[in-house]
């Protein structure tokens, strides 16, 4: 440790830390613009100049490492003169348009100019003008004259987002921040540049000019999207969510948010919001009052229970629902007598049910990912499914970790990949078995040398050589028709390579759903069975069957043939075609609730705004339904009471366990390989109901209409060229899509995204698919 003195205060700090860090530790603020804790040091703004005793000139505190006995003065005559000078220079070309600037009120330049600048400027000449740019739908670059060239946005792209999309072109007084020939900024983390910009040069396009920062009330909340559970700050004006920014939590999202989490709030104020309970009478939708609607639902459920048996009821919920909602839904169903509840909507293989030692989770803490030195990620569209987790993986790789990938597509992860094996979906299990075999051969536990691919051997070697190893299963592996066997093999690989084994949670409550027991009880039907054998009545919580389920064809057929469908949803959606009752429920900002993220962290939040229209929190709706159905134990007066009930007893940590009590498959049974196999990802901006209605995100390139991509040789076989429109057929239903050649895909595979309106008429996410010339 090193002892230094800052403004007369003794500070003990680590060797290698900067003066700025040390001062911050001692509670002394040194003004700065270009310095950011998470980014590399540029020392370009010079705002943090301080006097170091015996140094002949002021030194930048951010780039000056501490040395023993150093004496730093942040308010000496020299330091103040330097700060004033720098401030004057920074303001020379900065427009004086604070009154109309979106950053006004939360601007670092404004604050620091007040604190350290002069009251007027000596500069009389013309200010320089930087032309505005267009970098897409999320970041506004209409006032680039405000830029002070701190290059935080550039460094963010290089170091955090993994793709450098903005750069500083030209030099000297002509230097300006821009993208390459007006291309858009497409990173899924791009919104963070808005937060990073210390001035009003990069502002939020959807938020611009809708509110001033001092008019906003801020409420803490938790992201309802991916398994990360990012902490949010919800900014509210006049009972309306105006924008979302990150709330710092080093253990979860650090100070970042993915664009999905940042801009999905637009969906909260969507015109598609359902604001009144509605009943279908003679084919027409009528707005009714809550008691009427609930009475109708209760009667309907009673009717079906009495005539067809409670087993004729099925309940489906998305894993984006809160813990309390999921718990009450299953309690209601089980109270009525039906065990048919499920939240694992996109899962295909349920053979692990009843064999699980606990709820599947990440198997470690999220911030442990940064310190791993070997990773094997199986079947994950990592960047799009878990944007911030992918960022942590990139940080680990930057520190020297070896990343191994086993998947059916070869998307750019924006970091070096040590070994990768890209195979058809039905070969995934076989490849995993080969890795396991290679590990066994290496450790000498077996000499049986069945065929092992080179990639499997190198992956096994990589895993065996690590100290902190993790095997993680992505969404694709969890949705795979052989998911249970894949998990068993992965668990065995993990135990052989002394790795931790875990699942990347697909949604905000993928762990919470298990903890809330929103899974079928004894003899209950799971999400797939409920659709294969259609029920007479369905309760849908937040579910849009054509987009949220593994097999939309089956789902639509099932709900269309049901006698009663109750859609609890924040939105009017396709349910209007098949539902009988639509109950408007609150979006996540309008209710209190909890999510359990993929590392098993329970995060509760309060409502930030009042529910829109007559919408009500789903937990209250379910509680009332429970009362109406005379189910015992529905006396909760707060969501906290629900949460405390379901979390009481066994500590949560003991309920998380990835072990599967299933035999290790010895050999992968290969299906007769005929025809094309479908590889389906869920596009990032159609993954849940909220983000589907964010108008800005829907205009980004990630939200473009899906195409079918196949290996070039498959296109030749078909006799089509990239850009042609083809018919994609599953179970006799054809959907026209554009075809694109992607030679990184294995042959025999057609990549057709699911969960998008353009492909909602197709069938299961896995299995055979036909592509025909149209």
């Amino acid at each position: 440790m090193i002892n230094i003195e800052i403004d007369g205060k003794q500070v003990v700090t680590e060797p290698g830390s900067s003066v700025l860090d040390a001062a911050w530790k001692a509670g002394i603020h040194i003004p700065h613009f270009c310095y950011h804790k998470k980014l590399s040091i540029a020392a370009s703004c010079r705002m943090c100049l301080v006097e170091v005793v015996k140094a002949p000139k002021p030194l930048p505190a951010c780039a000056t490492p501490v040395t023993e006995g150093m004496k730093v003065l942040t308010h000496s005559e020299m330091a103040i003169k330097a700060q004033k000078g720098v401030m004057e220079f920074l303001l020379i070309n900065h427009p004086l348009d604070c009154p109309i600037c979106d950053q006004g009120g939360e601007c670092m330049l404004q604050d620091i100019a007040v604190g350290y600048g002069g009251s007027d400027s000596r500069y009389q000449e013309e200010k320089r003008i930087v032309m505005h740019k267009d970098v897409g739908e999320l970041i506004s670059t209409m006032e680039m004259s405000r830029c002070i060239q701190c290059t935080r946005c550039v460094r963010f792209g290089q170091e955090i987002a993994g793709m450098m999309e903005l750069g500083m072109a030209n030099r000297g007084e002509k230097a300006e921040i821009m993208s390459f020939v007006n291309s858009s900024v497409d990173s899924e983390l791009s919104g963070n540049m808005i937060d990073l910009c210390p001035v009003g040069a990069l502002t939020s396009k959807p938020f611009r000019y809708t509110a001033r920062s001092w008019e906003l009330s801020r409420y803490k909340s938790v992201s309802p999207h991916d398994g990360m559970g990012s902490n949010l700050s919800i900014h509210v004006k006049n009972n309306k969510v105006m924008r979302v920014t990150p709330s710092r939590n080093e253990a979860v999202n650090e100070c970042w948010l993915s664009d999905k989490e940042r801009f999905s709030y637009q969906g909260l104020n969507s015109p598609e919001r359902l604001t009144k309970p509605m009943l279908k009478q003679d084919g027409k939708w009528l707005e009714v009052e809550w008691p009427v609607a609930l009475e109708y639902v209760a009667n309907g459920l009673r009717d079906i229970t009495q005539n067809g048996g409670a087993a004729q009821l099925g309940a489906l919920a998305t894993p984006h629902s809160t813990l309390e909602e999921l718990y009450l839904l299953q309690k209601l169903m089980k109270g009525i007598g039906s065990e048919n509840v499920d939240f694992r909507l996109r899962q295909a293989d349920f053979s692990a049910d009843g064999k699980r030692a606990g709820a599947p989770w990440l198997g470690m803490q999220i911030d442990d990912i940064n310190n791993l030195d070997r990773l094997l990620i199986v079947g994950s569209f990592l960047r799009k499914d878990h944007p911030l987790l992918a960022h942590r993986v990139r940080q680990a790789v930057k520190k020297g970790a070896q990343l191994n990938i086993l998947h059916s597509v070869d998307d750019d992860l924006l970091c070096p990949v040590a070994n990768k094996q890209v195979v058809k979906p039905d070969e995934l299990l076989d490849q995993l078995l080969q890795i396991l075999q290679a590990l066994k051969v290496a450790s000498g536990t077996t000499s049986a040398h069945s065929e092992i691919s080179g990639a499997a051997t190198s992956i096994a070697q990589s895993l065996a050589g690590g100290q902190r190893v993790a095997i993680l299963l992505g969404n694709f592996a969890q949705q795979h028709p052989l998911a249970a066997q894949i998990a068993v093999v992965a668990e065995n690989i993990a135990s052989l390579s002394k790795a931790s084994f875990g699942y990347l949670g697909e949604a905000a409550n993928s762990v919470g759903g298990y903890i809330a027991k929103a899974i079928p009880g004894n003899n209950g039907l799971n999400a797939s069975q409920m659709l294969v054998a259609p029920r007479k009545a369905y309760l849908l919580l937040n579910v849009e069957p054509e987009l949220d389920l593994q097999d939309p064809q089956q789902a639509i057929a099932a709900v269309s043939s049901a006698a009663m469908v109750v859609a609890l949803s924040a939105y009017k959606h396709q349910a209007q075609a098949y539902a009988d009752v639509q109950l408007p429920i609150s979006a996540f900002t309008e209710t209190s609730g909890s999510f359990i993220n993929t590392e098993g962290r329970v995060q509760s939040f309060k409502g930030s705004v009042k529910p829109l229209g007559d919408a009500r929190p789903a937990w209250k709706v379910l509680r009332l339904l429970g009362n109406l159905m005379n189910v015992p134990g529905f006396t909760y007066d707060s969501s906290e009471a629900v949460r405390d009930e379901l979390l009481s007893g066994t500590p949560l940590a003991e309920r998380l366990n990835n072990h599967l009590d299933l035999p290790l498959p010895t050999q992968a049974v290969k299906a007769a390989a005929t025809g094309l196999q479908r590889v389906a990802e869920v596009p990032i901006y159609t993954a849940d109901a909220l983000v589907r209605r964010s108008t800005a995100l829907q205009k980004t390139s990630d939200a473009a209409t899906p195409v079918v991509s196949m290996h070039g040789s498959e296109l030749v076989k078909l006799g089509v060229a990239s850009g042609n429109t083809v018919n994609v057929v599953q179970n006799g239903v054809a959907v026209p899509l554009k075809i694109v050649a992607d030679d990184k895909l294995p042959a025999g595979v057609a990549r057709v995204p699911a969960g998008h309106p353009a492909t909602a008429l197709l069938g299961a996410m896995f299995g055979n698919i036909t592509v025909e010339r149209s």
Partner: protein, 159 residues
């Protein structure tokens, strides 16, 4: 697409650097393109980025930072006149005015036949010969008088 000659040249250049630092060759790559085409189109920058595995905007940063790279056609013979302080004291303004009147074009312009272009330059490190200009960034001409300029242009006219 980068021509085969350029690719060969870049590949030769790459041997000078470690395999994981291919972007070190970006300045040479830009030079090869300019030597072949006379200027560097943004499509060529994108191709270089692809070839060296670096972000396009990073190539653009380099190409716009250095004044030697022509971002638009600058004529078959580009005369880059230094306008920094020592050259200006040495009479660069006069040199420039004479050149402009001889060729009938202004700074950063190209003659109608596409033969000559005048470009604004920065210090070329030959201040003792001020005022100076470079010919296509390759040949340095110093101590410029009207006679000397006439002589340079006469020689170029022949080619």
């Amino acid at each position: 697409m980068l021509s085969e000659q350029i690719q060969t040249k870049i590949n030769r250049e790459l041997k000078k650097y470690p395999a994981d630092q291919k972007q070190s060759a970006v300045m040479s790559a830009l030079r090869f393109v300019q030597d072949e085409k006379g200027w560097i189109h943004s499509d060529d920058m994108a191709d270089i980025a692809g070839f060296l595995g670096m972000p396009k905007i990073a190539v653009y940063e380099v190409a716009t930072f250095y004044h030697m790279y022509n971002l638009k056609p600058m004529g078959r013979h580009t005369l880059t006149v230094c306008t920094n302080l020592p050259c200006t004291l040495g009479g660069a303004n006069d040199t420039l005015a004479y050149l402009e009147s001889k060729l009938g074009i202004g700074m950063n312009e190209v003659t109608a036949d596409g033969k000559y272009g005048i470009k604004e330059g920065e210090c070329m490190g030959a201040c003792k010969d001020a005022p100076v200009l470079t010919l296509n960034n390759k040949k340095l001409c110093g101590n410029l008088s009207h006679e000397k300029i006439d002589q340079i242009l006469a020689e170029l006219d022949k080619s």
